[in-house]
Protein backbone atom coordinates (compact mmCIF):
# COMPACT_ATOMS: atom_id res chain seq x y z
CA UNK A 1 0.00 0.00 0.00
CA UNK A 2 1.85 2.95 -1.31
CA UNK A 3 -0.51 5.34 0.44
CA UNK A 4 0.84 4.46 3.86
CA UNK A 5 4.37 5.10 2.74
CA UNK A 6 3.35 8.32 1.06
CA UNK A 7 1.87 9.60 4.30
CA UNK A 8 5.40 9.47 5.72
CA UNK A 9 7.29 10.42 2.58
CA UNK A 10 5.36 13.65 2.06
CA UNK A 11 6.23 15.29 5.39
CA UNK A 12 9.76 13.89 5.22
CA UNK A 13 10.30 15.28 1.74
CA UNK A 14 8.73 18.58 2.71
CA UNK A 15 11.00 18.85 5.72
CA UNK A 16 14.07 18.21 3.57
CA UNK A 17 12.96 20.55 0.78
CA UNK A 18 12.10 23.41 3.10
CA UNK A 19 15.52 23.01 4.65
CA UNK A 20 17.20 23.17 1.26
CA UNK A 21 15.11 26.20 0.32
CA UNK A 22 15.92 28.09 3.51
CA UNK A 23 17.67 30.89 1.64
CA UNK A 24 14.68 31.62 -0.59
CA UNK A 25 11.86 32.40 1.82
CA UNK A 26 9.15 32.58 -0.83
CA UNK A 27 9.94 29.14 -2.14
CA UNK A 28 10.26 27.77 1.34
CA UNK A 29 6.83 29.04 2.31
CA UNK A 30 5.31 27.69 -0.87
CA UNK A 31 6.86 24.29 -0.28
CA UNK A 32 5.66 24.23 3.28
CA UNK A 33 2.04 24.93 2.34
CA UNK A 34 2.19 22.60 -0.65
CA UNK A 35 3.63 19.83 1.51
CA UNK A 36 0.87 20.27 4.05
CA UNK A 37 -1.75 20.27 1.31
CA UNK A 38 -0.22 17.13 -0.16
CA UNK A 39 -0.31 15.47 3.24
CA UNK A 40 -3.97 16.35 3.55
CA UNK A 41 -4.66 14.97 0.08
CA UNK A 42 -2.82 11.73 0.78
CA UNK A 43 -4.56 11.38 4.11
CA UNK A 44 -7.97 11.89 2.56
CA UNK A 45 -7.35 9.19 -0.02
CA UNK A 46 -6.04 6.94 2.73
CA UNK A 47 -9.10 7.68 4.82
CA UNK A 48 -11.43 6.90 1.94
CA UNK A 49 -9.58 3.66 1.29
CA UNK A 50 -9.88 2.52 4.90
CA UNK A 51 -13.51 3.54 5.18
CA UNK A 52 -14.27 1.54 2.07
CA UNK A 53 -12.15 -1.53 2.63
CA UNK A 54 -11.22 -1.84 6.28
CA UNK A 55 -7.72 -1.80 7.77
CA UNK A 56 -4.81 -1.77 5.34
CA UNK A 57 -1.20 -2.61 6.03
CA UNK A 58 2.10 -2.24 4.21
CA UNK A 59 5.31 -4.05 5.00
CA UNK A 60 8.42 -1.93 4.88
CA UNK A 61 11.17 -3.35 2.69
CA UNK A 62 8.97 -6.28 1.90
CA UNK A 63 9.71 -8.09 5.17
CA UNK A 64 6.55 -9.71 6.43
CA UNK A 65 5.17 -9.06 9.89
CA UNK A 66 6.12 -9.69 12.59
CA UNK A 67 9.73 -9.64 11.32
CA UNK A 68 9.92 -6.35 9.51
CA UNK A 69 8.16 -3.13 10.37
CA UNK A 70 4.61 -2.87 9.16
CA UNK A 71 2.68 0.32 8.63
CA UNK A 72 -0.99 -0.15 9.27
CA UNK A 73 -4.05 2.02 9.15
CA UNK A 74 -7.29 1.01 10.71
CA UNK A 75 -10.04 3.57 10.87
CA UNK A 76 -8.71 5.22 14.03
CA UNK A 77 -5.25 5.66 12.53
CA UNK A 78 -6.66 6.86 9.24
CA UNK A 79 -8.92 9.37 10.97
CA UNK A 80 -6.01 10.66 13.03
CA UNK A 81 -3.91 11.09 9.92
CA UNK A 82 -6.70 12.93 8.12
CA UNK A 83 -7.13 15.29 11.01
CA UNK A 84 -3.36 15.74 11.13
CA UNK A 85 -3.49 16.71 7.47
CA UNK A 86 -6.19 19.26 8.20
CA UNK A 87 -4.22 20.79 11.04
CA UNK A 88 -1.03 20.70 8.99
CA UNK A 89 -2.58 22.78 6.26
CA UNK A 90 -4.21 25.16 8.71
CA UNK A 91 -1.04 25.90 10.65
CA UNK A 92 1.16 25.98 7.55
CA UNK A 93 -1.03 28.73 6.12
CA UNK A 94 -1.45 30.52 9.45
CA UNK A 95 2.31 30.50 9.91
CA UNK A 96 2.69 32.59 6.77
CA UNK A 97 0.96 35.43 8.56
CA UNK A 98 2.51 34.93 11.94
CA UNK A 99 5.98 33.45 11.97
CA UNK A 100 8.88 35.83 12.32
CA UNK A 101 11.03 35.62 9.15
CA UNK A 102 14.08 34.97 11.30
CA UNK A 103 12.41 31.88 12.74
CA UNK A 104 11.48 30.75 9.26
CA UNK A 105 15.07 31.08 8.15
CA UNK A 106 16.46 29.02 10.99
CA UNK A 107 14.05 26.18 10.51
CA UNK A 108 10.45 26.72 11.51
CA UNK A 109 9.04 25.02 8.42
CA UNK A 110 11.48 22.14 8.55
CA UNK A 111 10.78 21.51 12.20
CA UNK A 112 7.05 21.73 11.61
CA UNK A 113 7.14 19.08 8.93
CA UNK A 114 9.51 16.93 10.94
CA UNK A 115 6.95 17.13 13.71
CA UNK A 116 4.25 16.08 11.28
CA UNK A 117 6.44 13.20 10.17
CA UNK A 118 6.71 12.02 13.75
CA UNK A 119 2.99 12.39 14.31
CA UNK A 120 1.91 10.52 11.18
CA UNK A 121 4.56 7.90 11.83
CA UNK A 122 3.20 7.37 15.32
CA UNK A 123 -0.34 7.04 14.00
CA UNK A 124 0.54 4.61 11.25
CA UNK A 125 3.19 2.33 12.63
CA UNK A 126 2.26 -1.17 13.65
CA UNK A 127 5.46 -1.74 15.60
CA UNK A 128 5.94 -0.76 19.21
CA UNK A 129 9.63 0.11 19.01
CA UNK A 130 9.01 2.03 15.83
CA UNK A 131 6.31 3.93 17.71
CA UNK A 132 9.01 4.91 20.20
CA UNK A 133 11.17 6.18 17.34
CA UNK A 134 8.35 8.35 15.96
CA UNK A 135 7.69 9.63 19.44
CA UNK A 136 11.28 10.79 19.55
CA UNK A 137 11.10 12.39 16.11
CA UNK A 138 8.02 14.27 17.20
CA UNK A 139 9.60 15.18 20.50
CA UNK A 140 12.85 16.54 19.14
CA UNK A 141 11.01 18.54 16.49
CA UNK A 142 8.74 19.97 19.16
CA UNK A 143 11.78 20.85 21.29
CA UNK A 144 13.16 22.80 18.37
CA UNK A 145 9.91 24.60 17.63
CA UNK A 146 9.42 25.46 21.27
CA UNK A 147 12.83 26.99 21.77
CA UNK A 148 13.16 28.51 18.32
CA UNK A 149 12.35 32.04 19.38
CA UNK A 150 15.01 31.98 22.07
CA UNK A 151 13.09 34.33 24.38
CA UNK A 152 13.60 33.79 28.10
CA UNK A 153 10.10 32.46 28.70
CA UNK A 154 10.44 30.12 25.76
CA UNK A 155 13.70 28.73 27.06
CA UNK A 156 12.22 28.33 30.50
CA UNK A 157 9.17 26.55 29.14
CA UNK A 158 11.34 24.41 26.89
CA UNK A 159 13.51 23.27 29.80
CA UNK A 160 10.51 21.94 31.69
CA UNK A 161 8.92 20.47 28.63
CA UNK A 162 12.09 18.74 27.49
CA UNK A 163 13.07 17.36 30.85
CA UNK A 164 9.72 15.85 31.76
CA UNK A 165 9.10 14.44 28.32
CA UNK A 166 12.51 12.78 28.18
CA UNK A 167 11.70 10.91 31.36
CA UNK A 168 8.50 9.67 29.81
CA UNK A 169 10.09 8.45 26.58
CA UNK A 170 12.78 6.61 28.49
CA UNK A 171 10.09 4.86 30.49
CA UNK A 172 8.41 4.03 27.19
CA UNK A 173 11.64 2.59 25.84
CA UNK A 174 12.17 0.50 28.96
CA UNK A 175 8.62 -0.79 28.66
CA UNK A 176 9.18 -1.76 25.04
CA UNK A 177 12.40 -3.55 25.94
CA UNK A 178 10.77 -5.51 28.75
CA UNK A 179 7.80 -6.41 26.63
CA UNK A 180 10.14 -7.70 23.95
CA UNK A 181 11.95 -9.73 26.56
CA UNK A 182 8.71 -11.32 27.64
CA UNK A 183 7.11 -11.96 24.27
CA UNK A 184 9.94 -11.91 21.78
CA UNK A 185 8.08 -9.59 19.45
CA UNK A 186 7.58 -5.89 18.82
CA UNK A 187 4.81 -6.06 16.28
CA UNK A 188 1.64 -4.77 17.90
CA UNK A 189 -0.69 -7.15 16.11
CA UNK A 190 1.60 -9.98 17.17
CA UNK A 191 1.65 -8.64 20.73
CA UNK A 192 -2.14 -8.72 20.64
CA UNK A 193 -1.84 -12.47 20.54
CA UNK A 194 1.25 -12.84 22.70
CA UNK A 195 0.47 -10.73 25.77
CA UNK A 196 -2.67 -12.62 26.83
CA UNK A 197 -0.61 -15.82 26.64
CA UNK A 198 1.94 -14.58 29.16
CA UNK A 199 1.70 -16.58 32.32
CA UNK A 200 3.66 -14.13 34.44
CA UNK A 201 1.21 -11.44 35.54
CA UNK A 202 4.00 -9.35 37.02
CA UNK A 203 5.48 -8.92 33.57
CA UNK A 204 2.11 -7.94 32.14
CA UNK A 205 1.42 -5.39 34.83
CA UNK A 206 4.86 -3.84 35.08
CA UNK A 207 5.19 -3.37 31.34
CA UNK A 208 1.65 -1.99 31.28
CA UNK A 209 2.63 0.35 34.12
CA UNK A 210 5.62 1.70 32.19
CA UNK A 211 3.63 2.29 29.03
CA UNK A 212 0.75 3.75 30.99
CA UNK A 213 3.12 6.17 32.66
CA UNK A 214 4.82 7.15 29.41
CA UNK A 215 1.58 7.80 27.55
CA UNK A 216 -0.01 9.52 30.50
CA UNK A 217 2.81 12.04 30.59
CA UNK A 218 2.53 12.45 26.84
CA UNK A 219 -1.24 12.94 27.07
CA UNK A 220 -0.86 15.33 30.01
CA UNK A 221 -3.00 13.34 32.41
CA UNK A 222 -3.34 14.22 36.06
CA UNK A 223 -0.97 14.23 37.91
CA UNK A 224 1.79 14.29 35.32
CA UNK A 225 0.68 17.18 33.12
CA UNK A 226 3.00 19.87 34.48
CA UNK A 227 5.07 20.23 31.35
CA UNK A 228 2.10 21.39 29.33
CA UNK A 229 0.95 24.52 31.17
CA UNK A 230 4.59 25.33 31.76
CA UNK A 231 5.37 25.65 28.09
CA UNK A 232 2.43 25.79 25.70
CA UNK A 233 1.82 29.51 26.01
CA UNK A 234 5.39 30.49 25.20
CA UNK A 235 6.15 29.72 21.53
CA UNK A 236 4.63 31.26 18.42
CA UNK A 237 0.88 30.89 18.13
CA UNK A 238 1.33 28.60 15.14
CA UNK A 239 3.48 26.28 17.20
CA UNK A 240 1.12 26.45 20.16
CA UNK A 241 -1.76 25.53 17.89
CA UNK A 242 -0.05 22.54 16.35
CA UNK A 243 1.12 21.35 19.77
CA UNK A 244 -2.33 21.82 21.24
CA UNK A 245 -3.91 19.95 18.39
CA UNK A 246 -1.59 17.03 17.96
CA UNK A 247 0.98 16.29 20.65
CA UNK A 248 -1.20 15.26 23.54
CA UNK A 249 -3.48 13.50 21.11
CA UNK A 250 -0.60 11.28 20.01
CA UNK A 251 -0.35 10.31 23.66
CA UNK A 252 -4.07 9.62 23.85
CA UNK A 253 -3.87 7.70 20.59
CA UNK A 254 -1.06 5.58 21.99
CA UNK A 255 -3.06 4.94 25.17
CA UNK A 256 -6.05 3.86 23.14
CA UNK A 257 -4.02 1.75 20.74
CA UNK A 258 -1.93 -0.01 23.35
CA UNK A 259 -4.72 -0.44 25.86
CA UNK A 260 -7.10 -1.94 23.36
CA UNK A 261 -4.77 -3.92 21.12
CA UNK A 262 -2.02 -5.16 23.44
CA UNK A 263 -3.56 -4.80 26.87
CA UNK A 264 -7.12 -3.88 27.53
CA UNK A 265 -8.23 -0.86 29.43
CA UNK A 266 -10.70 -3.02 31.29
CA UNK A 267 -7.83 -4.76 33.12
CA UNK A 268 -8.12 -4.60 36.90
CA UNK A 269 -6.29 -1.65 38.42
CA UNK A 270 -5.56 -0.16 34.98
CA UNK A 271 -9.23 0.63 34.54
CA UNK A 272 -9.59 2.08 38.02
CA UNK A 273 -6.46 4.16 37.57
CA UNK A 274 -7.59 5.45 34.22
CA UNK A 275 -11.03 6.31 35.53
CA UNK A 276 -9.70 8.21 38.51
CA UNK A 277 -7.05 9.91 36.40
CA UNK A 278 -9.63 10.88 33.80
CA UNK A 279 -11.93 12.44 36.37
CA UNK A 280 -9.17 14.36 38.10
CA UNK A 281 -7.68 15.41 34.77
CA UNK A 282 -10.97 16.92 33.68
CA UNK A 283 -11.36 18.68 36.98
CA UNK A 284 -7.86 19.96 37.69
CA UNK A 285 -7.46 21.07 34.09
CA UNK A 286 -10.57 23.16 34.04
CA UNK A 287 -9.88 24.62 37.49
CA UNK A 288 -6.42 25.50 36.29
CA UNK A 289 -7.97 27.29 33.37
CA UNK A 290 -10.33 29.14 35.67
CA UNK A 291 -7.36 30.48 37.59
CA UNK A 292 -5.60 31.95 34.55
CA UNK A 293 -5.86 35.39 33.03
CA UNK A 294 -3.92 34.89 29.85
CA UNK A 295 -5.70 33.54 26.78
CA UNK A 296 -3.17 30.93 25.83
CA UNK A 297 -2.68 29.80 29.41
CA UNK A 298 -6.41 29.36 29.79
CA UNK A 299 -6.50 27.37 26.58
CA UNK A 300 -3.52 25.25 27.62
CA UNK A 301 -5.18 24.15 30.83
CA UNK A 302 -8.28 23.37 28.83
CA UNK A 303 -6.33 20.92 26.73
CA UNK A 304 -5.68 18.95 29.89
CA UNK A 305 -9.28 19.09 30.94
CA UNK A 306 -10.47 17.86 27.56
CA UNK A 307 -7.94 15.04 27.53
CA UNK A 308 -9.75 13.82 30.61
CA UNK A 309 -12.93 13.31 28.59
CA UNK A 310 -11.09 11.30 25.96
CA UNK A 311 -9.39 9.10 28.50
CA UNK A 312 -12.68 8.70 30.33
CA UNK A 313 -14.03 7.24 27.11
CA UNK A 314 -11.18 4.77 26.98
CA UNK A 315 -11.35 3.96 30.68
CA UNK A 316 -15.06 3.15 30.66
CA UNK A 317 -14.14 0.62 27.99
CA UNK A 318 -17.62 0.10 26.64
CA UNK A 319 -18.25 0.28 22.90
CA UNK A 320 -20.15 3.56 23.24
CA UNK A 321 -17.45 5.05 25.45
CA UNK A 322 -14.73 4.28 22.93
CA UNK A 323 -16.90 5.86 20.24
CA UNK A 324 -17.09 8.89 22.48
CA UNK A 325 -13.34 9.00 22.97
CA UNK A 326 -12.68 8.89 19.24
CA UNK A 327 -15.35 11.44 18.39
CA UNK A 328 -13.96 13.63 21.14
CA UNK A 329 -10.43 13.49 19.77
CA UNK A 330 -11.51 14.41 16.26
CA UNK A 331 -13.66 17.28 17.47
CA UNK A 332 -11.14 18.51 19.96
CA UNK A 333 -8.18 18.70 17.61
CA UNK A 334 -10.06 21.00 15.26
CA UNK A 335 -11.53 23.17 17.97
CA UNK A 336 -8.47 23.53 20.14
CA UNK A 337 -6.18 24.41 17.27
CA UNK A 338 -8.69 26.99 16.14
CA UNK A 339 -8.97 28.61 19.56
CA UNK A 340 -5.22 29.10 19.65
CA UNK A 341 -5.31 30.57 16.17
CA UNK A 342 -8.08 32.98 17.17
CA UNK A 343 -6.04 33.85 20.26
CA UNK A 344 -3.22 34.80 17.93
CA UNK A 345 -5.43 37.19 16.01
CA UNK A 346 -6.67 38.67 19.28
CA UNK A 347 -3.07 39.30 20.20
CA UNK A 348 -2.37 40.91 16.85
CA UNK A 349 -5.38 43.19 17.15
CA UNK A 350 -5.08 44.20 20.78
CA UNK A 351 -1.40 43.81 21.44
CA UNK A 352 -1.61 41.32 24.28
CA UNK A 353 -2.93 37.99 25.47
CA UNK A 354 -3.35 39.21 29.02
CA UNK A 355 -7.07 39.57 29.56
CA UNK A 356 -6.57 42.52 31.86
CA UNK A 357 -4.87 44.50 29.14
CA UNK A 358 -7.18 43.90 26.20
CA UNK A 359 -10.81 44.39 25.28
CA UNK A 360 -13.25 45.98 22.93
CA UNK A 361 -13.14 43.36 20.21
CA UNK A 362 -16.88 42.76 19.94
CA UNK A 363 -17.23 46.37 18.93
CA UNK A 364 -14.06 46.58 16.85
CA UNK A 365 -14.12 43.19 15.15
CA UNK A 366 -17.46 41.43 15.46
CA UNK A 367 -16.44 38.93 12.77
CA UNK A 368 -13.66 37.76 15.08
CA UNK A 369 -16.24 37.43 17.82
CA UNK A 370 -18.24 35.01 15.71
CA UNK A 371 -15.09 33.13 14.77
CA UNK A 372 -14.21 32.85 18.45
CA UNK A 373 -17.68 31.84 19.55
CA UNK A 374 -17.87 28.85 17.21
CA UNK A 375 -14.90 26.94 18.64
CA UNK A 376 -15.40 28.34 22.15
CA UNK A 377 -19.01 27.24 22.36
CA UNK A 378 -18.07 23.95 20.80
CA UNK A 379 -15.39 23.42 23.42
CA UNK A 380 -17.93 24.26 26.09
CA UNK A 381 -20.24 21.62 24.67
CA UNK A 382 -22.97 23.93 23.46
CA UNK A 383 -25.17 22.31 20.83
CA UNK A 384 -25.38 21.87 17.96
CA UNK A 385 -21.61 22.23 17.65
CA UNK A 386 -19.19 19.32 17.55
CA UNK A 387 -18.27 19.41 21.23
CA UNK A 388 -21.84 18.85 22.28
CA UNK A 389 -22.04 15.48 20.60
CA UNK A 390 -18.60 14.53 21.90
CA UNK A 391 -19.60 15.31 25.48
CA UNK A 392 -23.02 13.78 24.99
CA UNK A 393 -21.61 10.42 23.95
CA UNK A 394 -19.05 10.30 26.75
CA UNK A 395 -21.60 11.29 29.37
CA UNK A 396 -24.16 8.87 28.00
CA UNK A 397 -21.56 6.12 28.16
CA UNK A 398 -20.72 7.05 31.77
CA UNK A 399 -24.36 6.95 32.76
CA UNK A 400 -24.92 3.64 31.05
CA UNK A 401 -21.87 2.20 32.77
CA UNK A 402 -23.37 3.53 36.01
CA UNK A 403 -20.34 5.68 36.74
CA UNK A 404 -22.53 8.46 38.01
CA UNK A 405 -19.79 10.36 39.81
CA UNK A 406 -17.77 10.58 36.63
CA UNK A 407 -20.82 11.60 34.61
CA UNK A 408 -21.47 14.33 37.16
CA UNK A 409 -17.83 15.39 37.01
CA UNK A 410 -18.01 15.57 33.23
CA UNK A 411 -21.10 17.76 33.48
CA UNK A 412 -19.67 20.08 36.11
CA UNK A 413 -16.47 20.41 34.13
CA UNK A 414 -18.64 21.32 31.15
CA UNK A 415 -20.09 24.16 33.18
CA UNK A 416 -16.67 25.33 34.27
CA UNK A 417 -15.62 25.26 30.63
CA UNK A 418 -18.53 27.54 29.84
CA UNK A 419 -17.29 29.77 32.63
CA UNK A 420 -13.74 30.10 31.40
CA UNK A 421 -14.74 30.53 27.77
CA UNK A 422 -17.14 33.27 28.81
CA UNK A 423 -14.31 34.82 30.77
CA UNK A 424 -12.34 35.28 27.56
CA UNK A 425 -15.48 36.57 25.88
CA UNK A 426 -16.26 39.04 28.64
CA UNK A 427 -12.76 40.37 28.93
CA UNK A 428 -11.44 40.34 25.39
CA UNK A 429 -14.62 40.99 23.45
CA UNK A 430 -17.19 42.72 25.63
CA UNK A 431 -15.11 44.77 28.02
CA UNK A 432 -14.01 48.10 26.53
CA UNK A 433 -10.29 48.26 25.86
CA UNK A 434 -8.58 49.52 29.03
CA UNK A 435 -6.66 52.04 26.95
CA UNK A 436 -9.37 53.87 25.02
CA UNK A 437 -6.77 55.10 22.58
CA UNK A 438 -6.23 51.53 21.40
CA UNK A 439 -9.90 50.63 21.38
CA UNK A 440 -10.17 50.47 17.62
CA UNK A 441 -7.22 48.15 17.58
CA UNK A 442 -4.92 47.84 14.67
CA UNK A 443 -6.21 46.23 11.55
CA UNK A 444 -4.63 43.32 9.76
CA UNK A 445 -2.96 44.05 6.46
CA UNK A 446 -4.36 42.18 3.53
CA UNK A 447 -1.85 39.36 3.02
CA UNK A 448 -1.65 38.82 6.74
CA UNK A 449 -5.39 38.70 7.20
CA UNK A 450 -5.80 36.12 4.44
CA UNK A 451 -3.18 33.83 5.96
CA UNK A 452 -4.52 34.24 9.49
CA UNK A 453 -8.21 34.10 8.82
CA UNK A 454 -8.53 31.43 6.16
CA UNK A 455 -7.45 28.63 8.54
CA UNK A 456 -9.71 29.96 11.27
CA UNK A 457 -12.71 30.12 8.98
CA UNK A 458 -11.92 26.68 7.59
CA UNK A 459 -11.60 25.06 11.00
CA UNK A 460 -14.73 26.82 12.25
CA UNK A 461 -16.57 25.48 9.23
CA UNK A 462 -15.42 21.97 10.08
CA UNK A 463 -16.61 22.44 13.65
CA UNK A 464 -20.03 23.50 12.45
CA UNK A 465 -20.08 20.68 9.93
CA UNK A 466 -19.26 18.03 12.53
CA UNK A 467 -22.00 19.50 14.67
CA UNK A 468 -24.73 19.75 12.09
CA UNK A 469 -23.89 16.65 10.10
CA UNK A 470 -22.74 14.55 12.98
CA UNK A 471 -24.07 11.25 11.69
CA UNK A 472 -21.18 10.31 9.37
CA UNK A 473 -18.61 11.33 11.97
CA UNK A 474 -20.46 9.29 14.53
CA UNK A 475 -20.57 6.38 12.12
CA UNK A 476 -16.83 6.59 11.51
CA UNK A 477 -16.18 6.73 15.24
CA UNK A 478 -18.43 3.73 15.74
CA UNK A 479 -16.65 1.67 13.11
CA UNK A 480 -13.28 2.74 14.46
CA UNK A 481 -14.34 1.71 17.95
CA UNK A 482 -15.58 -1.62 16.67
CA UNK A 483 -12.23 -2.23 15.02
CA UNK A 484 -10.47 -1.42 18.29
CA UNK A 485 -12.59 -3.68 20.42
CA UNK A 486 -12.42 -6.49 17.93
CA UNK A 487 -9.05 -6.02 16.27
CA UNK A 488 -9.26 -9.19 14.19
CA UNK A 489 -9.42 -7.16 10.97
CA UNK A 490 -6.39 -5.17 12.11
CA UNK A 491 -4.50 -8.30 13.05
CA UNK A 492 -5.39 -10.02 9.79
CA UNK A 493 -4.31 -7.00 7.77
CA UNK A 494 -0.93 -7.11 9.49
CA UNK A 495 -0.22 -10.79 9.97
CA UNK A 496 -2.38 -12.31 7.29
CA UNK A 497 -5.05 -14.86 7.97
CA UNK A 498 -3.88 -17.22 10.68
CA UNK A 499 -4.91 -20.85 10.66
Amino acid sequence: MVLLTLALVVPLATAILTFLARRTPGLQRGLSVAGAAALLAVSLVLGAEVVAGGPIAATMGGWPAPFGITLVADLLSAAMVVITGVIALAVAVYGLGEIDPAEERIGHHTLLHALLLGVTGAFLTGDLFNLYVWFEVMLIASFGLLALGGRPDQLDGAIKYVALNLVSTLAFLAGVGLLYGATGTLNMADLHGAVPDLDNATVVFTTAALLLFAFSVKSALFPVFFWLPASYHTPSVTTSAVFAALLTKVGVYALIRVFTLIYDAGMPLIQELLLVAAGLTMLTGVLGAAAQNDIRRILSFHIISQIGYMVLGLALYTPLAIVGAIFYIIHHIVVKANLFLVGGVVKKLTGSEDLARIGGLWAAAPWLGVLFLIPALSLAGIPPLSGFWAKLVVIKASLEAEHYVLAATALVVGLLTVYSMSKIWLEAFWKPHPEPARAAGRGLDRGESWALLAPIVGLAAITVLIGLVAAPFYAVSTTAADQLLDPSAYVTAVLGARP
Binding site: V133, I140, P152, D156, I159, A163, G181, H233
Partner: protein, 123 residues
Protein backbone atom coordinates in the same frame (compact mmCIF):
# COMPACT_ATOMS: atom_id res chain seq x y z
CA UNK B 1 24.87 -12.44 35.58
CA UNK B 2 21.43 -11.39 34.36
CA UNK B 3 20.44 -10.87 37.96
CA UNK B 4 23.50 -8.78 38.61
CA UNK B 5 22.72 -6.74 35.55
CA UNK B 6 19.24 -6.12 36.94
CA UNK B 7 20.86 -4.82 40.10
CA UNK B 8 23.05 -2.51 38.05
CA UNK B 9 19.97 -1.24 36.21
CA UNK B 10 18.41 -0.57 39.58
CA UNK B 11 21.45 1.36 40.75
CA UNK B 12 21.65 3.43 37.59
CA UNK B 13 17.96 4.24 37.71
CA UNK B 14 18.10 5.19 41.35
CA UNK B 15 21.06 7.47 40.77
CA UNK B 16 19.40 9.03 37.72
CA UNK B 17 16.14 9.76 39.46
CA UNK B 18 17.91 11.17 42.46
CA UNK B 19 19.96 13.47 40.26
CA UNK B 20 16.90 14.62 38.35
CA UNK B 21 15.16 15.57 41.56
CA UNK B 22 17.98 17.97 42.42
CA UNK B 23 16.56 20.51 39.99
CA UNK B 24 20.01 21.40 38.74
CA UNK B 25 19.88 21.14 34.97
CA UNK B 26 23.54 20.16 34.69
CA UNK B 27 22.82 17.24 36.95
CA UNK B 28 19.79 16.52 34.83
CA UNK B 29 22.11 16.05 31.86
CA UNK B 30 24.10 13.52 33.87
CA UNK B 31 20.88 11.85 34.93
CA UNK B 32 19.78 11.61 31.34
CA UNK B 33 23.00 9.84 30.41
CA UNK B 34 22.62 7.46 33.35
CA UNK B 35 19.03 6.69 32.58
CA UNK B 36 19.75 6.11 28.89
CA UNK B 37 22.39 3.59 29.88
CA UNK B 38 20.03 1.92 32.29
CA UNK B 39 17.34 1.57 29.66
CA UNK B 40 19.80 0.26 27.09
CA UNK B 41 20.85 -2.36 29.60
CA UNK B 42 17.22 -3.26 30.16
CA UNK B 43 16.79 -3.92 26.45
CA UNK B 44 20.06 -5.79 26.34
CA UNK B 45 19.18 -8.00 29.25
CA UNK B 46 15.67 -8.52 27.94
CA UNK B 47 17.25 -10.06 24.82
CA UNK B 48 18.91 -12.50 27.22
CA UNK B 49 22.61 -12.72 27.77
CA UNK B 50 24.56 -15.45 26.10
CA UNK B 51 28.29 -15.98 26.11
CA UNK B 52 28.16 -16.26 22.39
CA UNK B 53 29.79 -14.95 19.30
CA UNK B 54 28.62 -11.69 17.80
CA UNK B 55 25.72 -12.14 15.37
CA UNK B 56 27.79 -12.46 12.24
CA UNK B 57 27.48 -14.92 9.40
CA UNK B 58 30.66 -16.43 8.09
CA UNK B 59 31.50 -16.02 4.41
CA UNK B 60 29.83 -18.72 2.40
CA UNK B 61 27.47 -19.75 5.17
CA UNK B 62 23.77 -19.20 4.88
CA UNK B 63 23.25 -18.74 8.58
CA UNK B 64 25.35 -18.55 11.73
CA UNK B 65 26.88 -21.91 12.41
CA UNK B 66 26.69 -21.74 16.20
CA UNK B 67 24.49 -19.95 18.59
CA UNK B 68 25.14 -16.24 18.25
CA UNK B 69 24.05 -13.38 20.47
CA UNK B 70 20.54 -12.08 19.95
CA UNK B 71 20.87 -9.50 17.19
CA UNK B 72 17.55 -7.76 17.51
CA UNK B 73 18.06 -6.10 20.90
CA UNK B 74 21.48 -4.99 19.72
CA UNK B 75 19.92 -3.24 16.78
CA UNK B 76 17.34 -1.64 19.02
CA UNK B 77 20.03 -0.43 21.41
CA UNK B 78 22.03 1.02 18.57
CA UNK B 79 19.03 3.01 17.48
CA UNK B 80 18.32 4.05 21.05
CA UNK B 81 21.91 5.11 21.71
CA UNK B 82 21.99 7.37 18.69
CA UNK B 83 18.59 8.87 19.42
CA UNK B 84 19.58 9.31 23.03
CA UNK B 85 22.71 11.09 21.96
CA UNK B 86 20.75 13.47 19.74
CA UNK B 87 18.38 14.32 22.54
CA UNK B 88 21.15 14.72 25.07
CA UNK B 89 23.11 17.01 22.81
CA UNK B 90 20.10 19.19 22.16
CA UNK B 91 19.27 19.30 25.84
CA UNK B 92 22.79 20.35 26.61
CA UNK B 93 22.61 23.23 24.15
CA UNK B 94 19.24 24.18 25.59
CA UNK B 95 20.58 24.24 29.12
CA UNK B 96 23.54 26.26 27.93
CA UNK B 97 21.24 28.78 26.25
CA UNK B 98 18.94 28.89 29.24
CA UNK B 99 21.94 29.62 31.42
CA UNK B 100 23.06 32.43 29.13
CA UNK B 101 19.63 33.98 28.97
CA UNK B 102 18.17 33.25 32.38
CA UNK B 103 21.42 33.29 34.30
CA UNK B 104 20.84 30.04 36.13
CA UNK B 105 20.86 26.29 35.70
CA UNK B 106 18.61 25.75 38.70
CA UNK B 107 15.27 24.87 37.17
CA UNK B 108 13.40 26.16 40.20
CA UNK B 109 14.85 29.61 39.65
CA UNK B 110 13.55 29.70 36.10
CA UNK B 111 10.28 31.48 36.65
CA UNK B 112 9.73 33.39 33.45
CA UNK B 113 7.12 31.21 31.77
CA UNK B 114 5.24 30.73 35.01
CA UNK B 115 6.10 33.79 37.07
CA UNK B 116 5.90 33.55 40.81
CA UNK B 117 3.61 36.58 40.84
CA UNK B 118 0.95 34.28 39.46
CA UNK B 119 0.24 33.24 42.98
CA UNK B 120 -0.70 36.76 43.91
CA UNK B 121 -2.69 37.38 40.76
CA UNK B 122 -4.68 34.24 41.23
CA UNK B 123 -5.97 35.48 44.54
Amino acid sequence: MELALAVLVGVLTTCAVYLMLSGNMVRFIFALALLSNAVNLVIFAAGRLTYAAPPLIADGAKAPADTVANALPQALILTAIVIGFGLLAFTLVLVHRAHQTLGTVEADDMRVAEPASDDDEAR
